[in-house]
């Protein structure tokens, strides 16, 4: 399922509704079943490791791009704010740092996982075992809120102005709107 979003970069625009199941495509902040092996795998994989190289984010987050809107500048970064429902802090990220939706999801999961935990503790036992589902929504240039994952990645980063991590049931409302 997770591979679908990256494949979207290759697809043409389609008429009609997208054929994918949106709740599955939306980000799941489940507890990852970490084994020792996968830990080693993660550290030796070519994928970007958190916090490495050790450069502060204000140095990473693009040169030439620090204005209020997520302005796209040639060669520069695209800064967007990310908020999560229930979290007291905003984060800023540079969309240019990610090559696709999967990387973006992983990074957001890392950044906000502490809040998914506090919600875990409060929820009932039944819910806790299945994990709490979240969706990533973004505000585009027309100030509409859309679910992330529909459009090809390049189109997404050029139109995205800010991101919001919302609870799964709210996201369903977005998905069903025309």
């Amino acid at each position: 399922m997770q591979g679908n979003c990256d494949n979207l970069e290759d697809t043409e625009l389609r008429l009609g509704l997208p054929g994918i199941d949106l709740t599955a495509a939306a980000s799941k902040f489940n507890k990852r079943a970490l084994t020792e092996d996968s830990e080693i795998e993660r550290s030796s994989a070519k994928a970007q490791v958190v916090g490495w190289p050790p450069v502060r984010s204000n140095r990473r987050n693009g040169f030439h791009a620090r204005r209020s809107e997520a302005a796209e500048v040639a060669g520069g970064g695209i800064l967007v704010k990310v908020s999560m429902d229930g979290a007291p802090y905003l984060r800023k990220i540079d969309l240019k740092n990610y090559k696709g939706y999967k990387e973006l999801r992983d990074s957001l999961e890392d950044m906000f996982k502490c809040f998914s935990f506090s919600l875990e503790c409060e929820s009932s036992e039944a819910e806790a075992s299945s994990g709490t589902e979240y969706a990533i929504a973004y505000e585009d240039k027309e100030e509409d809120w859309m679910l992330a994952g529909d459009v090809p990645w390049e189109m997404f980063i050029s139109s995205c102005r800010r991101l919001r991590i919302m609870k799964g049931f709210e996201a369903k409302g977005l998905a069903s709107s025309p």
Binding site: G51, P53, P54, Y89
Partner: protein, 669 residues
């Protein structure tokens, strides 16, 4: 009379603290030597009263007279001198009446000459009356870990503090290794200090979470407040800055350095307009990290009516069009942060005006900024280059050719920060011109592992050959050779800080294919003043053996993706007596290595280990054996499984015990 256990113990490893005997040690700092001079009430070494001094110590008369707890009572604040007593064996029992010989007020008058907190910590351990006198006269409080001591306890001991330095999160928080909401909140501190320190003048916070409400309290509680410095903090917005600007009538410096100012850009408060009208006593205004626009007219007016202003660092919402006008208002500036250093759409060409401004600013010694550098404006700074001591181009994407006319004019440069876009050739130019260079930082334009290397061993060797007075270096590269690092160790013997970041994980010497052990080994061996070291590249346990063997002054060590086994960690923990801060990530060190440092952890500020091989069981063992350590496990999942390797360990000595503000993802063992 009972003998102090720590004095009698000859084996330093067994001491919880090596007690200070700075008063009688020939190599003591100048302020301590003052106490030994003829003008002080402390008698010369040969007099019988000197033996009384030892007797007072022998009485165990520190704090409550409980030897074991004595040093620990100050451990949250103290960084004890580990030099052993000069005459440890000559403790003899002498009658107590000699205590009264050193009158309290005489003592206080002498102690006020002590300013270094290390010296003061040492003095406070001598005996109870010294402890009290020191506590009453200490003006500057330095707390390296905000969780090492509770606000109430610090305030209870030190009654008339004027200056506070408080540090919170460990450094790896800068690289997203610590989740949001971990802690280090300033709120409990400001709440406790507001009623207790009416004469507080200065606060410096590093990596703390500071709320706007905290800044409001700060602004309204201290009538003499002068200096606020926030470094790598978060949690506040321009609303908090407005409170400071409006209420701190004696404000001399407002220095915001690399903070995360959490504004919604559209709703930023016009804090610059909140400074009171009329002449201000502002000396330093640094706000390059504030991510929203400021009221330009208000800023210009503020600068114009601040005749004492010597440092101004603006954010990237200030274009060159505004910059030269600000410079014209403040020709006395010595430190300038230039903002975006480009012209915004439709503004025009300001090259002539800017160059005139730099020619007129004859006092400039430090220039930074260049956040959006438009290269055609760079020549404007040529007139100022000859006087520059410090130049920060690390946000400026410039080529070797663009650097050349700048750097070849900077003969007096001592501090230089730059992007690796200038390539090895650029560094060769630095080496050719900047013979007085003390500090160099080369940052990566493309901070990923598999990018094409821009600078290499060639640049490092060039710097080492040209800048022999180098004391501090931070160098990002893709690959390196042992030969280059060895060359630097031989050429730059004054190095105090050596931080080499080979961005490719586990990369060996690209010429020989060998690990980078020999290079780092040479650094610790040849650079006898080295106190801070960051290692990278392919490293075996041998590198750590070198560090343990030669790194006797190393206080801060950063390790990432290095080492083979627990031996590596053991070498360091057993070999480096001055080690204070140890941060390790993604290295194969486990419980055995962790436990090999039990003898030393009370002497350290903290230990960080993430993605290593330590287990919860090992951490629990440490917690059991060291009751004054706070052992935090920051987890990805909530199951309590002793045997599985865990994510993040952060532990530190503390007088306050486990903190009560830990979020759910932090488990305190």
């Amino acid at each position: 009379m009972k003998q102090i256990k720590w004095y009698a113990c000859k084996n330093p490893k067994k001491n919880i603290f090596n007690p200070p005997s700075v008063l009688f040690h020939r190599e003591a700092s100048p302020s301590i030597r003052l106490l030994n001079s003829k003008t002080s009430p402390i008698p010369p070494p040969s007099s019988p009263l000197r033996e009384v001094q030892f007797a007072m110590l022998g009485n165990g008369d520190c704090d409550d007279g409980n030897d074991d707890r004595c040093s620990l009572n100050t451990c949250g604040i103290a960084q004890p001198n580990s030099r052993p007593a000069a005459a440890a064996s000559s403790l003899v029992g002498l009658p107590p009446p000699f205590f009264d010989q050193v009158l309290d007020n005489v003592l206080e008058n002498v102690l006020c000459f002590l300013t270094s907190h290390r010296d003061r910590n040492a003095a406070s351990l001598v005996c109870k009356s010294w402890f009290l006198a020191e506590a009453q006269t200490r003006l500057e409080l330095f707390i390296g870990n905000c969780y090492a001591v509770s606000p109430a306890r610090a305030i209870g001991r030190f009654r008339c503090i004027q200056s506070l330095v408080l540090k919170g999160k460990p450094r790896f928080a800068d690289f997203n290794l610590i989740p949001l909401g971990w802690g280090a909140r300033f709120s409990p501190w400001i709440a406790a200090m507001a009623p207790s320190y009416p004469s507080l003048q200065r606060i410096c916070l590093k990596r703390m979470t500071v709320a706007d409400a905290d800044l409001v309290i700060l602004a309204t509680s201290f009538p003499s407040f002068r200096d606020l410095t926030l470094i790598c903090c978060d949690g506040f917005t321009t609303a908090g800055l407005a409170a400071i600007a409006e209420n701190c009538r004696q404000l001399r410096s407002l220095d915001l350095i690399e903070n995360d100012v959490e504004d919604d850009d559209d709703d930023g408060v016009d804090w610059v307009s909140c400074f009171p009208p009329g002449k201000t006593c502002l000396e330093s205004l640094v706000f390059d990290c504030v991510g929203c626009a400021v009221n330009l007219e208000a800023l210009e007016s503020l600068v114009a009516r601040s005749p004492s202003l010597w440092r101004l660092r603006v954010n990237d919402y200030i274009s060159v069009g505004r910059l030269f006008r600000l410079m014209a208002r403040a020709p006395q500036l010595t430190h300038l942060g230039t903002g975006s250093f480009s012209s915004f759409d439709g503004e025009g060409d300001f090259r002539a005006s800017l160059e005139s401004a730099f020619m007129a600013s004859k006092s400039l010694v430090c220039i930074s900024g260049f956040r959006d550098l438009a290269p055609e404006y760079l020549p404007s700074i040529y007139p100022a280059c000859a006087n520059l001591i410090s130049l920060n181009l690390s946000y400026a994407l410039i080529t070797t050719d663009q650097l050349k006319p700048v750097i070849t004019r900077c003969h007096n440069l001592q501090t230089f920060w730059v992007l690796d876009s200038v390539l090895d050739e650029g560094l060769q130019m630095v080496a050719a011109t900047c013979k007085n260079l003390r500090e160099l930082r080369v940052f990566p334009l493309d901070a990923t592992e598999d990018s094409e290397g821009s600078v290499s061993d060639v640049g490092l060797v060039a710097i080492s050959e040209g800048c022999k007075k180098l004391q501090s270096i931070l160098y990002f590269c893709q690959t390196m050779t042992n030969a280059a690092v060895v060359a630097m160790s031989n050429n730059c013997q004054d190095l105090v800080v050596f931080r080499l970041c080979i961005m490719g994980r586990h990369r060996p010497d690209h010429l020989t294919g060998e690990p980078m052990d020999e290079g780092f080994g040479a650094i610790v061996k040849n650079c006898k003043n080295l106190t801070r070291l960051a290692v990278s590249g392919l490293l075996t346990d041998k590198a750590f053996a070198y560090i343990g063997k030669y790194g006797k002054l190393v206080r801060t060590l950063s390790v990432a993706f290095a080492g083979n086994s627990d031996l590596g960690l053991r070498y360091v923990l057993e070999g480096c007596p001055k080690l204070q801060k140890l941060e390790i990530r993604d290295s194969p060190f486990g419980d055995t290595g962790l436990l090999s440092g039990i003898h030393h952890y009370y002497n350290m500020r903290f230990l960080w280990m993430s993605s290593c091989k330590v287990s919860v069981k090992g951490c629990k063992e440490v917690a059991r054996r060291l009751p004054h350590m706070v052992v935090e496990v920051i987890r990805d999942r909530l199951e309590d499984d002793n045997s599985v390797a865990m994510e993040k360990l952060y532990m530190y000595r503390s007088l306050a015990g486990p903190r009560n503000d830990a979020p759910p993802f932090v488990k305190l063992l």
